[in-house]
């Protein structure tokens, strides 16, 4: 299944980016990983059926599985939220190197 290979590439790339030091790269990694998972979900509805599930113009025998599509739709928007949050964190202090805790004016006990 070709899509399995696509998923594999995306997961590999996402994991690699997730292990990087720069928070921006980590955010990108989250994005790529979520692409992979979305694709995984979509292919769970059998990809032999690829017609849009719109009742006005579909052939029920050929329509794609609508349930994974509903899942993925919400997942995409949530990923947007998470990515924006991570990028907001990356901007603090102008240095997104995660190995250095940015100056935030707080005092740390230990």
């Amino acid at each position: 299944m070709i899509l399995a290979l696509t998923i594999g590439f995306l997961v590999a790339g996402g994991t690699y980016l997730l292990l990087q030091r720069s928070l921006v790269r980590i955010a990108f990694g989250v994005g790529v990983l979520s692409h992979a998972v979305n694709l995984f979900l979509l292919t769970a509805g059998i990809t032999a059926y690829r017609q849009e599930p719109l009742a006005s113009r579909m052939d029920p025998a050929q329509a794609a599985d609508p349930l994974p599509q509903a899942f993925v739709l919400t997942a995409i928007v949530i990923t947007l939220a998470v990515t924006v949050f991570l990028l907001a964190l990356a901007v603090i202090g102008r240095n997104d190197n995660t190995h250095r805790v940015p100056e935030t004016g707080e005092e740390h006990d230990r």
Binding site: V24, L42, A48, L54, A55, M58, I76, G93
Partner: protein, 954 residues
């Protein structure tokens, strides 16, 4: 009923002391003391009943499900301790008003009276859980009283708390074991159970636990260190708690549970051994002290050890001795503490070496102290003498190998010699040895002296009528051994017995030591051990602290990759191994035909190339472009899979993500950091492995069945049930509306989280001024190298003049925004039947917001700060209300269908409005938070030039 009244009144006293201290301040002690005496007098009829052999009991269910009942029982043992608590409490309360020179002492009175309540409730409780509760209350009260003494009291109170709460834990464990095994929470009933005879191991374990609890309260080794420590508290506190109450709670526990364990060998060995050891230890340490109060503290430890050992003997005779000595000890010890407090007050010091010879200046104090010390040392004809004789006699009854009782007796006798010695040390050190006192050292007023001396002075007449104690002590015996018929006889003179001979020996030896005190004092006062108790405890705590820090250090990394790597590896291993397992066991169904299309291959190649490039590139801008590219590729794939709505959403989300990335990237360096990552090989291997596992898993589990049954249901029934043609949208807002509701809450929370995080950081850290030096901790942000002409030239304007540059955009905005709003509305309303819906409409509106932002000449927020929060909250609220309205139809979020004016309206449309608002709110937050700049960043050429000019001038 009398018991409940007693407890109720005692519980009210702390409350009563609040207004009392406000009005008559320190003198509150007098009314409270009188109250206690009245209570004691009111108990006389019940006391008579108890002594005659009929214990007073009272029971009412409190929490029946837990077996916690208010079971109160006053028998002989309880009677003795209640009398001690009330009478000594009254005496201390009479002493306090004149002892405390300043302050209202409100906390003192409240906690002391609360403590009395706890103590009386403890000795009255017949229910194991109630016993534990009141036990912990006494621990708490003693902690509070010590902590009141300010700075020096702090470490002492913590140590006290630690020690006494360890005892509480062991008591809890023992109680739980008893309840679990015997099935009852009532003390007396549990006693009747047969498990004590049949299961020696269980009995032994419970015995050890109870012994530990008693030791912790009664300051036996190794818990003894809290008692001298607790001397930081004020003298009345010491007098009451540490002479008559808290420590007596421990003794009470040991006496009470003697009913269970009197013939259990480990109990006897533990009590006698630890008790005698503590006697010697305490006496020796007491002898070493030069501080009067500390000396008394160690002396208390020693005396308690003696009592503990006596309890451990386990015979009825021993119990009578222990009870009598408890009473005697409470009397003379509390009195002695109070007298020491008087000496401290009058002379200003507690150190023996600094005290002048006080016997002429404070004669009454001298007389009372001498009497008290004599009682402690066991000099006839005082109460202390009688009780000590009895103790020595009871040691003769120790059962075991031959000669053991003589050994025990010998050790106890040696302890008594030491007792005599340190008593002599106190007397001589404070009153006899020393310089002539100055003229300002005077005798204390009778108001302070009388209560202090009272318990001691009572020791003399009580010794003469000691036969009065026989009946109550017999009642005590009956409470411990229910069928006891032993005749108790107390007497001042019993003839020439072994114990009398030993006492004479002790007195002789002791007197000789005291007379020779000058020679041995210096030698004895050298400390034996390098560390004392508190130091040992301090070291233990340090070690435990260090262990904790080390343990936490194993996972205390601030950067994500250290935590992500194990997670991803575990994930890869799990799915890879799982898939392999499925293959190897042959559980894999055959692949569905016709899964692939040729176009999938093209997308695979593009995706693979994009991903590899994304991982490798060093340029931030490049990675943003590549990410966008991968996103678009996937959009194509999604559309090809027949997911129209999803594809639209993905496209719009991708655009917004790229815009947000650009908002962020302009504040960061142009490239990712140049340092070589040492983990690059490890990361590559992990990611390759996980990717392989994911591909294998996808191949194994997906595509090996026909389309699911639920898909068929939705495709067939969905449009029929809901009236909407877009099955995906129908699922989102009607069938699975609850999931969508949860999802929009997540969105809203993400937006709020962004606001919260960025609001708590001061501006100068969010957007610090870039440091032009290459090796600053803030990564060097290189300003763009642009060759420019003079300011004002066309080239300059083209790059610098933001106002002019965005003019075109703003002109277009006038036309574009209404169109976008129209498109958004159209997508919103048609979502039920065509690709569209709340999400997509909101994302289109978000694009309009992005456009507005980009058309602004300055970096300003797009809306007021409140607006996105209101949108998010409003969206969630709308969704909730729509959901609640669904109850009309029967369920939360059940869609309501209405036909109005020929239009078919569904309540899910309103739900979609909530979704719309939440998504829009999130995007607004993103632009408001990330779109502003702190005034000066490297892409602002004018700013950089100004700084360079300033740098030249400096």
């Amino acid at each position: 009923m009398i018991l409940v009244w007693l407890l109720a009144v005692l519980a009210l006293v702390p409350v009563l002391s609040l207004p009392l201290t406000r009005t008559i301040e320190r003198r509150t002690g007098y009314p409270l003391g009188i109250l206690y005496l009245v209570l004691a007098a009111a108990l006389i009829p019940s006391a008579r009943q108890v002594v005659n052999g009929h214990p007073v009991s009272y029971k009412v269910a409190w929490v029946p499900q837990l077996g916690l009942n208010l079971s109160l029982r006053m028998d002989g043992l309880a009677l003795v301790f209640i009398a001690l608590a009330l009478i000594i409490g009254a005496v201390v309360f009479f002493y306090s008003p004149t002892y405390f020179r300043t302050g209202t002492q409100r906390g003192f009175y409240v906690v002391m009276s609360a403590f009395t309540f706890a103590m009386v409730a403890l000795v009255l409780s017949d229910n194991l859980i109630l016993m534990f509760l009141t036990w912990e209350l006494t621990s708490l009260a003693s902690f509070l009283l010590i902590a009141r003494s300010g700075k020096p009291g702090e470490p002492a109170s913590m140590r006290t708390m630690l020690m006494t709460f360890i005892g509480g834990l062991t008591l809890l464990a023992a109680g739980a074991l008893i309840i679990a095994r015997t099935g009852t929470t009532n003390f007396s009933e549990a006693l009747a159970s047969g498990v004590w005879q049949t299961d020696p191991v269980f009995t032994g374990v419970v015995a050890v636990l109870i012994a530990a609890a008693g030791f912790s309260k009664a300051a036996q080794f190794p818990f003894h260190l809290w008692l001298p420590d607790a001397m930081a508290a004020a003298t009345p506190v010491s007098a009451y708690l540490h002479a008559a109450a808290v420590v007596k709670a421990g003794i009470y526990l040991l006496m009470r549970f003697t009913a269970y364990f009197y013939d259990v060998p480990i109990w006897q060995i533990l009590l006698i051994g630890v008790g005698l050891f503590t006697t010697l230890l305490g006496a020796w340490f007491a002898l070493q002290q030069t501080d009067l109060k500390k000396l008394m503290a160690y002396s208390t430890v020693s005396q308690l050890g003696l009592i503990t050992a006596t309890i451990g003997v386990g015979t009825e005779f021993a119990m009578t001795a222990a009870v009598l000595h408890t009473i005697a000890h409470a009397g003379f010890k509390s009195g002695l503490f109070m007298l020491m407090g008087i000496v401290d007050h009058q002379t200003g010091t507690r150190k023996i070496d600094r005290l002048p010879a006080l016997r002429k200046a404070m004669p009454w104090t001298f007389a009372a102290t001498a009497l008290g010390l004599a009682s402690m040392a066991g000099v006839p004809p005082l109460l202390g003498f009688i009780s000590k004789e009895k103790i020595l006699a009871s040691f003769l009854e120790v059962s075991g190998p031959a000669g053991l009782n003589w050994l025990v007796l010998g050790i106890a006798a040696f302890g008594s010699v030491l007792t005599f010695a340190y008593s002599g040390k106190i007397l001589t050190g404070a009153f006899i040895d020393g310089d002539k006192p100055g003229p300002d050292v005077r005798e204390a007023s009778w108001k302070t002296l009388a209560p202090a001396a009272f318990p001691i002075v009572m020791g003399l007449p009580l010794a003469l009528v000691v036969a009065w104690f026989e009946a109550p002590v017999a009642a005590v015996l009956r409470s411990v051994w229910p069928g006891s018929r032993k005749e108790v006889s107390f007497y001042l003179w019993h003839g020439f017995t072994v114990e009398l001979a030993i006492t004479v020996l002790i007195l002789a030896l002791g007197t000789w030591i005291v007379l020779k005190r000058a020679s041995w004092r210096r030698k004895v006062e050298k400390p034996i051990f390098r560390y004392d108790g508190p130091a040992v405890l301090g070291i233990m705590r340090e070690r435990v602290d260090q262990a904790g820090v080390w343990l936490a250090g194993l996972t205390r990394f601030d950067y994500p990759s250290r935590h992500v790597a194990p997670i991803m590896v575990s994930l890869g291993v799990l799915i890879g191994a799982g898939s392999l397992a499925l293959w190897l066991t042959g559980n894999v169904a055959p692949l569905h035909p016709d899964l692939n299309r040729p176009i999938d291959l093209g997308i695979l190649i593009m995706t693979a190339g994009g991903v590899i490039a994304l991982c490798v590139t060093r340029s931030r801008l490049g990675s943003a472009v590549l990410l966008g590219g991968i996103g678009i590729t996937l959009t194509v794939q999604i559309l090809l899979l027949g997911a129209a709505d999803v594809g639209l959403t993905q496209l719009l989300v991708e655009m917004l993500t790229v815009i947000v990335i650009m908002l962020v990237l302009r504040k960061l360096p142009l490239e990712f950091s140049h340092g070589k990552n040492p983990k690059i090989r490890r990361n590559a291997i992990i990611s390759a492995g996980v990717g392989l596992a994911a591909a294998l898993a996808a191949f194994t589990v997906i595509g090996r069945r026909d389309r699911s049954a639920i898909a068929d249901y939705y495709l067939a029934e969905g449009p029929v049930v809901t009236g909407g043609s877009n099955v995906v949208n129908v699922i989102l807002v009607e069938f699975r509306a609850l999931d969508t509701f949860g999802e929009l809450t997540v969105l809203g929370l993400a937006g709020l989280a962004i606001v919260a995080v960025l609001r708590t950081i001061p501006r100068r850290y969010l957007d610090p001024e870039p440091d032009p030096s290459p090796d600053s901790p803030v990564t060097y942000v290189a300003p763009p190298v642009v060759e420019l002409d003079v300011e004002g030239s066309r080239a300059y304007d083209a790059l610098e003049n933001a106002e002019a540059n965005t003019e075109v955009l703003r002109l277009l905005q006038k036309a574009l925004l209404p169109i976008l709003a129209l498109v958004s509305a159209m997508l919103f309303f048609r979502g039920h039947n065509q690709p569209g819906g709340g999400f997509i409409a909101a994302l289109v509106a978000a694009c309009a917001v992005a456009y507005i932002y980009m058309a602004k000449p300055k970096d300003e927020p797009v809306s007021r700060p409140r607006t996105p929060v209101l949108l998010i909250g409003g969206g969630v609220l709308i969704a909730v209300i729509t959901g609640l309205a669904g109850f009309i139809e029967g369920e939360f979020l059940q869609p309501i269908h209405l036909d109005v004016l020929g239009l078919h309206l569904v309540s899910s449309l309103i739900f979609d409005v909530g979704v719309y608002a939440a998504v829009l709110g999130l995007v607004l937050v993103a632009f408001n938070a990330l779109g502003i700049s702190g005034g000066g960043h490297p892409s602002d050429l004018k700013y950089v030039k100004e700084r360079a000019a300033r740098g030249v001038a400096e």
